[in-house]
């Protein structure tokens, strides 16, 4: 299995405050990896550092190419789609415009049109509301839209920041089901950050646990889920 994303000795700073203290991990092509940890552990910062949205040092390699010192909008062109915390919906624009924006770096207009139809097949609710302002969608629908928007890039890697946040449990089940399907069928590698450790471990194949800016645990998702000690001390369930 080839390594798609390799992060080495990542340190990130907000002003004078250091948020990540030499964090290293890797993600295999085609895998669904989850990054777990409590509030403030540095999960979001890790994702933001990969997309150069926060000052950081260390090596980040994607498919063997270094990502450091590239601008956020350039990193997207490698095929990395980031669904930020809070979903990042373009609330004043229509659902369809949101999808078009996801593909704004692509040149193949025919492919974009057919991909929009594909998204509507994945998420029928978006088709019903395609002319509606995205801000009027419910939280769950907006999360679907955010995932669909990210897929419009035809990404190789999708970064998801707490997709379950603020959603009803049933909606979360639905969403995670779709994420698994996208991972398997569309061969999109996924790195998902979650506070809902139980659900994330069910979905993922690899898992890392972060505590105060360091990796404290890594391994097969099933092993971690089955290890009561880890669950109790780090994951709180």
């Amino acid at each position: 299995m080839t390594t798609l994303l390799n992060v080495k000795d990542l340190r990130a700073y907000y002003g004078q405050v250091q948020a990540l203290h030499g964090l290293s991990f890797s993600l295999n092509e085609g895998s669904l990896t989850t990054l777990l940890g409590a509030n403030g552990a540095g999960k979001t910062t890790t994702l933001r550092a990969i997309c150069n949205m926060v000052r950081s040092t260390g090596a980040i390699e994607f498919d063997g190419k270094p990502l450091n010192n590239r601008s956020t909008e350039n990193i997207v062109r490698f095929g990395i789609a980031h669904v930020p915390q809070g979903r990042g919906t373009f609330t004043t624009m229509t659902v369809e415009e949101n999808l078009q924006l996801g593909a704004i770096t692509r040149k193949d207009s025919a492919g974009i049109v057919s991909d929009i139809e594909r998204m509507y097949a994945h998420f029928p609710v978006l088709k019903q509301r395609h002319t509606q302002q995205a801000g009027t969608l419910s939280g769950g629908e907006q999360q679907m839209l955010a995932v669909a928007r990210a897929l419009m890039l035809r990404p190789r890697l999708m970064l998801l920041d707490e997709p379950s946040f603020g959603l009803a449990p049933l909606v979360v089940r639905d969403l995670f089901g779709i994420l698994g399907k996208i991972n398997r069928e569309d061969k999109v590698s996924i790195l998902v950050v979650e506070q809902n450790a139980q659900l994330a471990l069910e979905l993922a194949d690899q898992a890392y646990v972060i505590e105060t800016g360091r990796i404290v645990m890594s391994g097969n998702a099933k092993d971690i889920a089955n290890n009561e000690e880890i669950r109790k001390s780090y994951l709180g369930y």
Binding site: S71, V76, L101
Partner: protein, 292 residues
């Protein structure tokens, strides 16, 4: 009744200019969250460029197009050189930047072309429009050009990818970068377009107010009034606001005793203040709610 119709039509004509200025102001406000106090001076300078070209024998419409191109490039240059470095600076630093720009452009124009009032030609002539005494051909031309411009902008923002990208960059910059939009250049592009729109306003109003370095002062204040009335977050509101302010200005000047021509400017300022007190978001603007 004829006086009333006459004043409303004349108001629509000048309103078209206010609409252009308001639109230019709103475009830059959407991109960088600041009011461009130098918008009027930039338009004035562009108008002088077109005048100079015509003095050198360039025909009107050729000069018009060259001036548009010049303004577009100049707007981008101003953003790159002056305001990009100020992007993260406090509000007052930006305000100082705008005032500096105002002073620099105003005095450069005075230095190059001096402060005497100059005639500026109109391509439409000033005969009565369609044989009616209500409105002149130049006034009709002002409205016509503005309507064409607005339609063009509407199609640009609604139906082109770059227009979509510009809207995205202005509404949620972080998400825009995450889909691969270079937001910094979208801001520069916005400056270029706003400057070009302003130059159209300058070239259309110059035959009415005559060409001189201070010609846009009053016009810009009406443009601000229009932008505030329509809502600073709404380009559509800016346009509607422009026409409303134009009509309001003319009717107030005609029917309210004592207002006349001298008190027209305070009326614009009174309008700005009343809107800010009664409906701060304007007629079509969104309320900005920020989580703290």
């Amino acid at each position: 009744m004829e006086l009333f119709t006459n004043q409303v039509l004349a108001g629509i004509a000048t309103g078209a200019i206010y609409a252009c200025m308001a639109l230019a102001v709103v475009m830059i406000y959407q991109a960088i969250d600041h009011l461009n106090f130098a918008q009027g001076e930039m338009a004035m300078f562009s108008t002088f460029i077109s005048w100079q070209l015509m003095q050198w024998g360039v025909p009107y419409w050729a000069a018009f197009v060259i001036t548009l191109a010049f303004s577009f490039v100049a707007g981008i240059a101003i953003e790159r050189i002056l305001f990009k470095p100020l992007a993260k600076a406090p509000i007052l630093t930006n305000v100082a930047g705008f005032i500096a720009l105002f002073a620099i452009i105003n005095s450069s124009a005075g230095l190059i072309w001096d402060f005497t009032i100059k005639q500026y030609p109109t391509p439409f002539g000033s005969a009565p429009f369609l044989g009616s005494q209500l409105i002149s051909t130049h006034q009709a031309g002002m409205v016509g050009v503005t309507v064409l411009l607005l339609l063009g902008l509407y199609f640009f923002f609604q139906y082109t990818r770059i227009g979509l990208a510009m809207r995205a960059a202005a509404s949620v910059p972080e998400s825009a970068r995450l889909v691969g939009i270079n937001t910094s250049w979208m801001i520069a592009l916005g400056w270029g377009m706003a400057t070009a729109i302003g130059s159209i306003a300058g070239m259309l109003i110059a035959p009415v107010v005559f060409l001189e370095p201070n010609m846009m002062g009053g016009v810009l204040i009406y443009g601000f009034a229009a932008a505030v009335l329509g809502g600073l977050t709404s380009p559509f509101g800016a346009v509607v606001g422009g026409f409303l302010v134009g009509i309001f200005e003319n009717l107030a000047g005609t029917y309210i005793p004592g207002v006349g021509n001298e008190l027209k400017l305070p009326i614009a300022l009174a309008l700005i203040i009343s809107v800010l007190v009664v409906k701060p978001a304007g007629l079509f603007g969104r309320h900005i709610v920020k989580r703290v």
